[in-house]
């Protein structure tokens, strides 16, 4: 360690580790050409202090389990799903004729409550949005994949449910319509959109959320991030990051590039619930 007065690079390195630097300070530190290891040692010391001090605090600081599960889901690859449904020779089935609608109908009341609860602004949602970060891999429309045929095939399978989108007052949904197809047993689904406003993926992306009657409504299952380009009808596969027990509501939000783990619910664009 230096004598009573630290060298300039040490002052800057300490400030960087403790409170961060502004642009001019960063440039000054860079110009001093300090070896990375020396800077890292100071930053690591700050980390060691924080970790040691927090080890003394006995409080309820555990990561909320649903938030932890959502993060794990986003960190790892999506769970391997069942093989894709085949379109060959399978006729489209009228969804309302299916007994699979029964649980959906039973979930309707809960879904309405969920819509109400979820669309209410959260008290903490008034803070400015977090800055964008490096985009993570997203579910997007795969040009080489016939999602229209896959969707039709899935819809034709017993147990599939089709739910129409209901547009909110969000500008992006002004002319939007379409529906969700979801198969609970196969854990597969597709979203079809017509007229949903195209997004600029560098500024914002759409994200699907699936509310599960068997999970806390505060942490709906991330259904994947996707983009909509200019043009007519699009079909987007659902990429549920966790197993969905009993879907009671699907909601599409507009989020920062790469999506989020927990939506601030500032822009809800479309919802679909069994009650229609």
């Amino acid at each position: 360690m230096s004598a009573a007065r630290p060298e300039r690079w040490e002052e800057l390195a300490c400030d960087a580790a403790l409170v961060g630097l502004d642009e001019a300070e960063r440039a000054e530190l860079a110009a001093l050409a300090v070896p990375d290891d020396d800077l890292l040692a100071i930053e690591l010391a700050a980390g060691e202090i924080a970790a040691a001090a927090l080890a003394t605090v006995s409080d309820d600081a555990s990561l909320p389990p649903m938030l932890g599960a959502a993060i794990v889901a986003r960190l790892g690859p999506a769970p391997a799903g069942p093989p894709p449904a085949r379109a060959d020779g399978v006729a489209r089935r009228a969804p309302k004729a299916s007994p699979a609608w029964l649980p959906w109908a039973l979930a309707a009341a809960a879904a309405i409550l969920a819509v109400y609860g979820w669309t209410r602004p959260r008290p903490e949602a008034t803070a400015p949005p977090a800055p964008s970060r490096d985009p993570e891999p997203v579910a997007s429309i795969d040009a080489g994949r016939d999602t229209f045929a896959e969707r039709a095939a899935l819809l034709a399978r017993p147990g599939a449910a089709e739910l129409p989108w209901k547009a909110t007052k969000d500008e992006a949904a002004k002319a939007a319509s379409g529906e969700v197809v979801w198969h609970a047993e196969l854990q597969r689904g597709f979203m079809r959109f017509r007229g949903l406003a195209p997004n600029d993926p560098t500024k914002a992306q759409y994200q699907l959320w699936i509310f599960d009657a068997e999970r806390d409504d505060a942490y709906p299952v991330d259904g994947g991030v996707f983009d909509v380009g200019p043009g007519g009808e699009v079909v987007v596969p659902i990429e549920a990051k966790l197993k969905v027990g009993r879907a009671k509501l699907f909601a599409v939000t507009v989020e920062k590039p790469g999506g989020v783990v927990v939506s601030k619910r500032e822009r809800i664009v479309l919802t679909a619930a069994p009650s229609g």
Binding site: E10, A51, L67
Partner: protein, 192 residues
């Protein structure tokens, strides 16, 4: 003799399938504690935690068990992201303040998330780790200032206000304290 087992961060760097989940389980509380203290709202803390774990996955390969502990490395990565987020928020607040001055309206103040304070008898509670010994060896003022910056995420100006100290004194305490801890950790590293 069995070779030493890889640390969790080393397992992540090697791409082991179950290491990511284990990482969230083991370090979730530490990251969450820091995020709550450094974030103005619970929603901001939730976003921050996600970004921190993404950062950890990317930087796990840089962890060197001869230089520090896994907890210290995780806290370092977390604090780096949290400081960055805080500075961006401050910049936006400043922009909003300027806009508000122009329009004659006040911007909304941020509401700090309620989190437990560090114990008053922290010195007694610190364990026998190298970092704990280094903290315990600091003078009381240096230690307080350093903990307010590293754990509570306060800026120098905020610490000066809370401790009723001149800003320059706060900077001196913080820098001197941190350099002292770094030196003690380096000595311990050499001895080991």
């Amino acid at each position: 003799m069995n070779p030493p087992r890889d640390t969790l961060l080393e397992r992540i760097a090697k791409g082991e399938a179950d290491a990511k989940r284990a990482c969230v389980e083991r370090f979730g509380a530490l990251v969450w504690s820091l995020a709550r203290r450094h974030s103005p709202t619970p929603a901001d803390a939730e976003d921050a935690v996600q970004e921190i774990f993404m950062d950890l996955m990317r930087s796990a390969a840089r962890f060197d068990p001869t230089k520090g502990t896994e907890n210290g490395f995780v806290a370092m990565v977390a604090r780096r992201r949290l400081i960055d987020l805080a500075r961006r928020r401050a910049a936006r607040r400043e922009e909003a303040r300027k806009d508000a001055e122009g329009s004659g309206t006040d911007s909304d103040p941020e509401v700090a998330a309620a989190v437990p304070s560090l114990p008053a008898d922290l010195e007694e509670k610190l364990d026998a780790s190298r970092a704990a010994r280094a903290i315990a060896a600091l003078g009381a003022e240096e230690r307080d200032v350093l903990l307010l910056a590293t754990v509570e995420g306060l800026t120098y100006a905020e610490i000066a206000e809370r401790k009723n100290l001149p800003l320059g004194t706060v900077k001196t305490y913080a820098r001197r304290g941190l350099l002292s801890v770094r030196a003690r950790l380096s000595e311990a590293e050499v001895r080991s």
